[in-house]
Amino acid sequence: MKTIFSTTSLALILATGAASAQELPQANDAWFTAGQDAIQAIIDREINTGRAKNVILLVADGNGVGTNYATRLYAGQQEGQFGEEHVLPYETPDFHSALVKTYNINAQTPDSAPTAGAMNTGVKQRFNLINLGGDAIHDDCATVTGNELTTFAEIVSGMDKSVGIISTARLTHATPAAVYAKTANRDWEDEVPEGCTAQKDIAAQLIDQMDAGVIDLAMGGGRRYFAGKDVTLDEGGTGHRPDGQNLIEKATTLGAQYAWNTETFSSLNLDGSKPVLALFNDSHMEYEADRAEDDEPSLAEMTKSAIEYLSNNESGYYLEIEAGRVDHGNHAGNAKRTMIDGVAFAEAVAMADELTDDADTLIIVTADHEHGIAFNGYCGRGTPIDGLCYAVAQTGDKHSDELLLADDGKPYTVVGFLNGPGAVLKAGEGNDYTGSRDELTQDEAQDLDYIQQALIPSSSEMHSGVDVAVYAKGPWAHLFDGTIEQNVIFHVMNHAVAAE
């Protein structure tokens, strides 16, 4: 009877609507009114069923819901907030959202090649391959022919749109490569096995696609894969291509502009008349925490230039933007660099949003996969997300000044990893791994180079199969809802650019 009574009471309150809400004791609480504002913002959303002239796909590599949570708090705390309440630029009510299942055809734990491929072709792919159908086999060049998929870049290029790629990783790395390459091995960045004639290496495919008019702009790292081993590169390093080809020279001969540092980036002609190839580092671009302004542009600065360049095409454009080093910070078990690159990604999203019109531009913000990142408890409000866990305070909102201790009597960080170089088990004699946790101070835990403690020993922290989120605004963004397969992202893009 009691249960029935409660249900009936609740139904009565709901049925009588907003007027009755004012009579609730919590009606004037800030959380209550904020909640009302939140649903009003969702009610006020306008569904856009127009045709998307432009599509911008922003991917923070390795930025699953856990990693994104860390970045949200870090960004907020950098602004003086507690952090938990912070709203990243893509977490506002005007973005629709969904959860995304990221597994590959043959892998529970995904890698970045087939995940990016799924977003760029509409089908799930096999582990470590890019843009080849499910019958292709990893590392087997003989399975390339007949399995090549058509990319979104090729589709929209056929609609006279321009295509751009930006990445803070190497342009030949998995996520950017998925815009233009088809390969049986993601590691064939500047060479293919002897006798393999069914495909070229990934760098060569980029220049071929630029020559073919599919790719108009490419900015990122990976310079060494575009020049032979005997070539001295712009910053004093050497090329890496065994075949000796100088693809940078080939691109400029074909009419492309080339930039390699902030100064030459600033001098690019952005009127859209000449393709752009920008290679800012021999390998990956620097982590945002280590980037020098006079050496490399930021992700947001590259985003701004790319949109200015691509907007010259009246038929529109497709631009994929990757924050590639969010992933690398996690692999290193170095949460601080992950979060700082996450903030740089958020700034790039804000820049893209600011420079485009929701009426004709579909902006999609997502990740390719999550990591083995996890969060300890029970930390008080405002505990530094990059530091040690403080206890919950009995009064007020903010955490107490008491560090929580584990059963070993030592404090612990909020962020931890399930595996990786921060493993507390260290290699001993033979195969004997033993260890205990280090005693940490808050200063040590918040150091830029600090590696979070982990459980399973591994030279590199690993991806995980946990869902990522997708956020979107603009034409057909409302199609993102519920829990979707990763390849559905392509279908929303493809539907949006073709809608009548």
Binding site: P89, E189, D290, A292, N334, P421, A423, L448, D449, P457
Partner: protein, 139 residues
């Protein structure tokens, strides 16, 4: 109310992660400018001096050697990120007094040695270094 513009402005105004002043126990990054493009003033001023630097021993390039590479973070090798080992710019070559007794790559060590600067190619491994600690001990 946080707007996009204030978000950007606030994020850009975030405090820089400046290298600390010289201290008894140094970090690897203290000897380099941002992103390892050049040596720091501290490094330039400390040539010939014995320094104590904390870091990690990268997996040795050669067995039974008196040489190892000191890194600021454990050398994580991601098979799905890299086609080959990626050395960061800011590393220190260490030439030891005794044959190196290998320490696991993720155990923090303190290395004491006399600072040398200038390009040098290790005759055994071909490893090129710009910054070295010689006559070094570690633990």
């Amino acid at each position: 109310m946080l707007t996009r513009r204030t978000f950007l402005a606030s994020a850009l105004a975030a405090p820089c992660l400046a290298a600390p002043a010289a201290a008894d126990l140094l970090k690897v990054r203290d000897l380099y400018q941002v992103k390892g493009r050049g040596l720091s003033d501290l490094a330039q001023q400390s040539v010939g001096q014995r320094l104590e630097i904390e870091g990690f021993m990268a997996p040795p390039l050669k067995a039974e050697s008196r040489f190892f590479v000191l890194t600021k973070m454990p050398m994580a090798v991601c098979p799905f990120c890299e086609t080959e080992a990626e050395w960061p710019n800011d590393i220190i070559a260490v030439y030891t007094k005794r044959i190196v007794d290998v320490t696991p790559f993720n155990v923090k060590i303190t290395t004491s040695g006399v600072l040398e600067v200038g390009a040098y190619t290790d005759p055994d491994t071909g490893f090129v270094s710009l910054l070295r600690l010689v006559d070094a001990t570690y633990g």
